[in-house]
């Protein structure tokens, strides 16, 4: 993986935080207190921080805030002056009711958290399946961000915005053009919407990375789709993944029309495999529902050490607010 200097510095700093250096933890906590308005989290609580935080409630924005708080607050993921990239699903030119794109309120709440944690700039983009300006107009995300400073919603379809990278541990996707905004960002936050999916069975966090590559058509044509999804998951490591199941497209995904269930839930976590595996329990996706082991790319990614597929090994904190 190519590292910019900034990424390296932030990576080392985050690494330092995660191994639990008490002094830095304290500093991080006070940072969160200063910007997020929450008291510093004692290090004893840090130790039992959940792997996944699941929040159900009427207000999607409140759900996001509670879910991130349960993981230790935004200060854990975003440092001062960071360029933060949110990758929601803005693939389809459908209104939010169609459940094919991430709920705009969820995206806005996350952008606000990032800004409050000191982000210098929040970039929100996708490579849409439909005509870009129609998608941006219809899906509601661009509109809801109006008035938020340093936040940019856009699409990138021109090949000029992508750089060819080599995936070291790839099985099929050795070379892939990835959006430079992802490669150069300090903090990547994946914000998929929970959908069933024709070819991949479900489209949660890992499947969402198809929106950061320039030539995804070859994933169907020249590669095995499931292996390619696992390949890119070994390379793109989000600091945080938040699955929007405010409403989920349970069948007929990813473009709809299909059955939509209002689950009023968001799931947040740092382990992309665990998050996708947990997402399967939310609704009977594809009609009958899937077990984590039914999803080939999850099995493959878990084998390659991207994350944990076994739900029993995870600590899941559930809140209803």
């Amino acid at each position: 993986m190519k590292l910019t200097r900034r990424e390296a510095i932030v990576g080392m700093a985050t690494g330092g935080l995660l191994v639990g250096c008490p002094f830095l933890l304290k500093a991080n906590g006070s940072n969160a207190a200063q910007t997020g308005g929450k008291a510093a989290i004692p290090s004893a609580v840090q130790a039992i921080r959940p792997d996944l935080s699941v929040v159900t409630g009427r207000d999607p924005a409140q759900n996001v805030r509670a879910a991130v708080e349960a993981l230790g607050g935004m200060g854990r993921f975003v440092g001062k002056g960071d360029i933060v990239t949110l990758k929601p699903n803005m693939g389809f030119g459908n209104a939010p009711e169609a459940a094919t794109t991430t709920d705009p309120r969820v995206v806005r709440a996350m952008a606000e958290l990032a800004l409050n944690a000191g982000a210098k700039r929040v970039l929100i983009y996708d490579y849409p399946c439909n005509k870009a300006d129609i998608v941006l107009d219809v899906c509601g995300i661009k509109k809801i961000m109006a008035g938020l400073d340093d936040t940019f919603v856009y699409t990138i379809q021109s090949a000029k915005y992508y750089s060819e990278v080599t995936i070291p541990n790839a099985k099929t996707l050795y070379q892939v053009p990835i959006a430079r905004d992802i490669l150069e960002s300090d903090c990547i936050i994946n914000m998929p919407v929970a959908k069933s999916h024709g070819s991949a069975k479900v489209s949660f966090g890992m499947k969402n990375w198809m929106g950061i590559v320039e030539n995804r058509k070859t994933w169907h044509f020249s590669h095995d789709l499931n292996t390619a999804i696992a390949d890119i998951a070994t390379f793109v490591r989000p600091k945080l993944t938040l699955l929007d199941a405010t409403r989920a497209l349970v069948t007929g995904g990813p473009g709809g029309p299909g059955e939509i269930q209002a689950l009023n839930t968001v799931v947040a976590g740092t382990d992309p495999v665990a998050l996708d595996a947990y997402g399967l329990t939310l609704a009977p996706f594809g009609g009958k529902g899937y077990k984590p082991t039914d999803i080939n790319y999850l099995v493959d990614a878990a084998k390659r050490g991207v994350g944990t597929i076994d739900l029993e090994k995870l600590t899941v904190q559930k809140q209803i607010i």
Binding site: W219, H220, G255, P257, Q261
Partner: protein
């Protein structure tokens, strides 16, 4: 700058602005096609050829009526082609410089009258030819298909060059903006070359196109022969000949400067301003003195042109390719039945410019000889967006009907047909249901084969023919799933469309959502 040049530049700027604004969603006031609507040649031809009343005939009649009073004011003051050629002439060859041909030489003037006769004869036989020679039609095409994409390309290069600056300033939207260039095809290039050719003709005479070739000019000339506003030269003229040397259209008789061809005069007023004795004026008058209109076209020649137009129309109608293409061409949703469509479409290219996905493209010969430059749908380049009905709202002659969104969806373009021999699932056992993913109507089902692959199958009753599947199919080259016009639904003006079953089904499914979610809250 004279008053006339001011008016010309203003109207040209307006024309360009209207074309730039021809986009989806369209402006609430339908003015983008104002110039095409007031063009009498286009509306007369469309009405004759399709044998229907075209509302724009009313505007055309106003222009013709005003020509009875004011002469060819349209050519001299309003026509965007005339303005461009005049300014081009000034810049390229100098305002008063000598040209290859003497300014008063009549040479090819009859050609424009001949073309007019040919166009009208072909229209009587139901075929449209005006678009090949009409200046407004050409100017719209030149701008919409040629200049606009090139302009966007230049803007893109500029944006690309300034990107580091925008990023440094934090203007991320500008740093990530690139304009779509999906309409600059062969015909864009062709229309630019045609315009360059017309500018080149300026070497021979000023406004060469307007004098010799323009059939709209010929039509207006016929109405302007005895226009009320007439040129008058008082006694005191010293016959220095400046007027006939600088006349914008060479209308003044060099042997007798008191006489002029009133059908050729475009009311530019140069003979008045250039007259150093100040004896020339234009004023309303009924006196026939000095009027010398002529079409330079003998009766025999006229019959020849009419015969040519009729034969062309006959050939276009008999051409076997016509019968093939009638059933093989994907037309925009809401296009009226093919014969009427070909007769009514003026090939202005506005629908192509407005199409937000690049689905509409100008046909070269894909739609047969008679379909040259008509819009065809090419889903591989861009699917028809289900939320857009722009082409019908933009079409100035209603060759594409202006439909509400549900009506437009009922006006199906065709049916998707899957070719298993090209599909990566059937052929290679790959994991792919991209056609299903993109189908907005859920018209792709899948069946598991003996290998356990999910193979796509088209459900024809739910298929709208929008082409999202063809657009997004990952197979390289020709898509494995293609929209064919077999299931197309085309109706003439006023007829209603049978409601599209798939729409109701899709809506029902959408409405199936449980309580508990709403947006905006």
């Amino acid at each position: 700058m004279s008053l006339r040049r001011g008016v010309q530049i203003f109207l040209l700027a307006l024309f360009i602005a209207l074309i730039a604004l021809t986009r989806w969603p369209p402006s609430p006031v339908e003015v983008h096609d104002a110039f095409l609507r007031i063009d009498p040649l286009l509306s007369i031809q469309a009405a004759l050829a399709s044998r229907t009343w075209i509302p724009a005939l009313g505007y055309g009649a106003v222009v013709l009526g005003l020509s009875l009073l004011l002469g060819r004011f349209f050519c001299g003051w309003m026509c965007p082609m005339g303005t461009c050629l005049e300014v081009g002439d000034d810049l390229l060859y100098g305002r008063n410089r000598r040209r290859v041909w003497p300014n008063s030489a009549r040479r090819l003037r009859y050609v424009k009258y001949g073309l007019l006769a040919m166009i009208l004869a072909a229209a009587v036989f139901g075929e449209a030819l005006a678009y090949l020679f009409d200046p407004i039609s050409w100017m719209t095409r030149i701008l919409a298909l040629g200049v606009w994409p090139l302009f966007s390309a230049i803007v893109n290069l500029g944006l690309e060059a300034l990107r580091p600056v925008f990023e440094w300033l934090g203007w991320m939207h500008l740093a990530r903006t690139q304009f779509d260039l999906s309409t600059f095809g062969f015909l864009g290039l062709f229309s630019l070359l045609f315009f360059a050719f017309l500018l080149g003709l300026g070497r021979y005479q000023r406004r060469f196109w307007c004098r010799h070739l323009c059939p709209l000019g010929a039509l207006l000339a016929l109405f302007s022969r005895n226009a009320l506003f007439r040129r008058r030269v008082e006694n005191g003229c010293d016959k220095d000949g400046k007027c006939f040397r600088t006349c914008e259209t060479g209308a003044i008789d060099p042997k007798d400067v008191f006489r002029y061809d009133s059908g050729e005069c475009i009311q530019c007023g140069r003979c008045v301003s250039d007259c150093h004795k100040k004896v020339t004026s234009f004023s309303p008058s009924l006196s026939p003195k000095g009027l010398a209109p002529s079409t330079d076209l003998s009766r025999r020649q006229a019959l020849g042109w009419i015969g040519g137009g009729s034969l062309t129309a006959g050939w276009l109608a008999l051409n076997p390719a016509r019968r093939l293409t009638n059933d093989a061409t994907l037309r925009p949703p809401g296009a009226i039945p093919e014969d009427d469509f070909l007769a009514t479409c003026v090939r202005c290219g506005q629908c192509i410019k407005a199409c937000p996905t690049g689905c509409l493209q100008p046909a070269l010969l894909e739609a047969g000889a008679a379909g040259f430059m008509t819009p065809i749908a090419v889903p591989r380049l861009g699917a028809c967006n289900r939320n857009c009905n722009g082409c019908g709202q933009i079409c100035p002659t209603d060759a594409i009907r202006s439909l509400s969104l549900p009506e437009k969806i009922s006006a199906r373009m065709g049916n998707a047909v899957l070719d298993p021999s090209r599909c990566v699932v059937y052929e290679r056992g790959r994991v792919c249901l991209v056609c299903d993913e993109h189908c907005p109507f859920g018209a792709i089902d899948w069946e598991e084969n003996e290998r356990g692959d999910r193979c796509p199958v088209v459900n024809e009753t739910r298929c709208n023919g929008c082409g999202q599947c063809e657009r997004n199919c990952p197979v390289e080259g020709v898509s494995a799933i293609r929209v064919r016009p077999a299931g197309q639904v085309r109706r003439g003006a006023g007829e209603s469309y049978p409601p599209f079953a798939g729409l109701q089904e899709a809506e029902d499914k959408k409405n199936h959502r449980p309580q508990g979610y709403s947006y905006p809250p």
